[in-house]
Amino acid sequence: RRLSESRVGELLDELEIALLESDVALPAVEAIKKRVKQDLVDRKVRLGTDVPDMVEEALKDAITAVLAEPVVLPPKARRHPSRFEPPFFSEFVDRHDKPVVLMFVGINGTGKTTTIAKIGHMLMKQGYSIVIAAGDTFRAGAIQQLEKHADQLGVKLIRHEAGSDPASVAYDAIEHARARRRDVVLVDTAGRMQTDTGLMEEMSKIERVANPSLVIYVGDALAGNDAVNEAMAFNRAVGVDAVVLTKVDADAKGGAALSIRYATGAPVIFVGTGQEYKDLEAFSPRWMVDRIFG
């Protein structure tokens, strides 16, 4: 017997609801369904095979494969043409010229500043020295929020006055790190809507000045279909190298990971699982598949 296109399509339509209910954006769902169809249609099936089960397993495997695919060439290959696969932080920092500059971007409220504190904490535990750049000079209380984190971590914060040019904050932080031979600079940026061309241009300017080793996009696991529009726009503007998906502890299934991977090609490297510094875990595709399919 061979699997017919209509039979595979029918079974995939049923499984589609589980993906949509887990906040996998519709375009990403369509892309993964197409990949599974190409794989399964006309395949020989032995009598007695549980076809629905087989199609579900094929879908799970396809999702895991997409999420786990090593990223060979990030969007702006000039940054680092080599392959990188999570968990790569310590390898990445060791391999690269110091200071390694990590720039964090994303829309408003996704968890950028909190994630900077978490990654700073993690890197310090691994023995690296850190400088943080308070590159959000716009939002009320943004500089003070980072001051509190820098105090708790015992890390130098480079800050200018509210309203000053974020790119010059990043520049000063990198110069400070170079002069004092610090290993890593974490550059915070203000949240921004991808529809705000002025703010997107400001972000591009920060990226040009900071010339980061990695641009890390911080996405919210609670986001729906809009995750694709947002991630695509940020990727177009500054080239996203890696993704952190926050708030997976807040009842989210995490389908946004697939949406953002579909939109940018960049791997999800960490997930945020709470508000404390310890609440940062390496992303595992299998974890997400298990959450979605239960």
Partner: protein
């Protein structure tokens, strides 16, 4: 190809010579996709789709109305039904408590509301009830300073109900007291407990759920959990200046029956607008 919005879907009907059950079934499936693409909760989208199909198959279009317009009208009516009656926010003396998940825009919106009431001649006080997020007090204080509204809070205080009680005493006699609280979600029992205790202390007249337009499938269930804890009286949808369709926020309204009272359309302190249901729905169906 796949219709990316309802408007595209309904164009299919225009070109059809006559509307039969098979076409309705096909269009209805596309309508369901468009609702999911707009982040309407999957279970709600299914219920809506079934009702739209039933009505499209049984109701005759009114005289002079085309079949296309009839189906469009049904979709529109079913969505408006969810939004319920809009309501004005009174300008009499009252206490407002802001709640919601993390990073939705609660603190920013507390500042926006304070300006809204101050501009209408009312005496307003802001209470910094978020004792968890680093520099939450600084954020609210800076917002208050910009608009000349006093903020009560103590940077080191860790007990939110105590801070709120002191704030209520300090602003006794003010027209409007707005209480900011920290982000939380329904599975964090200690934070849900804290929220209930703050509500007990403050006895707010309004309890607004602040939810952003971006939120997806978890919006409905999370809103229901907040509603079960402290009975919400209204919803404020933020970040409407992006491309998100806010179907999650609509699902939250459906789950709680609390009406949308305002929308946030930007980060600046004056970017708060009254809710306009027809505009919202046509943006959702895009």
């Amino acid at each position: 190809g796949l219709a990316s919005s309802l408007k595209d879907t309904l164009r299919k009907i225009v070109n059809a010579p006559h509307i039969d059950a098979a076409l309705i079934k096909e269009v209805v499936k596309e309508i369901q996709r468009a609702l999911l693409l707009a982040d309407i909760n999957a279970a709600l989208a299914l219920r809506l789709t079934k009702e739209i199909e039933r009505r499209a198959l049984t109701e005759k279009p009114p005289a002079g109305m085309s079949s296309r317009d009839h189906v469009v009208r049904i979709v529109y009516e079913e969505l408006v039904r969810i939004l319920g009656e809009t309501r004005e926010i009174s300008l009499k003396k009252h206490v407002i408590m802001m709640v919601g998940l993390y990073g939705q825009g609660k603190t920013t919106t507390a500042g926006k509301l304070a300006l809204y009431f101050k501009k209408r001649g009312l005496r307003v006080g802001l209470v910094a009830g978020d004792v968890h997020r680093p520099a939450a007090y600084d954020q609210l204080t800076q917002l208050g300073a910009r608009i000349g509204v006093p903020v009560h809070g103590e940077p080191g205080e860790t007990r939110a109900p105590k801070m709120v009680r002191e704030g209520m005493e300090k602003f006794d006699g003010y027209d409007i007291i707005i209480i900011d609280t920290s982000g939380r979600h329904s599975l964090e029992d200690d934070l849900v407990e804290e929220m209930k205790r703050i509500a007990n202390v403050a006895q707010p007249d309004e309890k607004f759920l602040v939810i952003d337009a971006v939120m997806g499938q978890t919006a409905g269930p999370q809103a229901r959990a907040f509603h079960e804890a402290i009975t919400l009286t209204g919803v404020i949808i933020t970040k409407m200046d992006g491309t998100a369709k806010a179907g999650g926020a609509l699902s939250a309204v459906q789950a709680t029956k609390a009406p949308v009272v305002f929308i946030g359309t930007g980060e600046h302190i004056d970017e708060l607008e009254k809710f306009n249901p027809p505009g919202f729905i046509s943006r959702l169906l895009g």
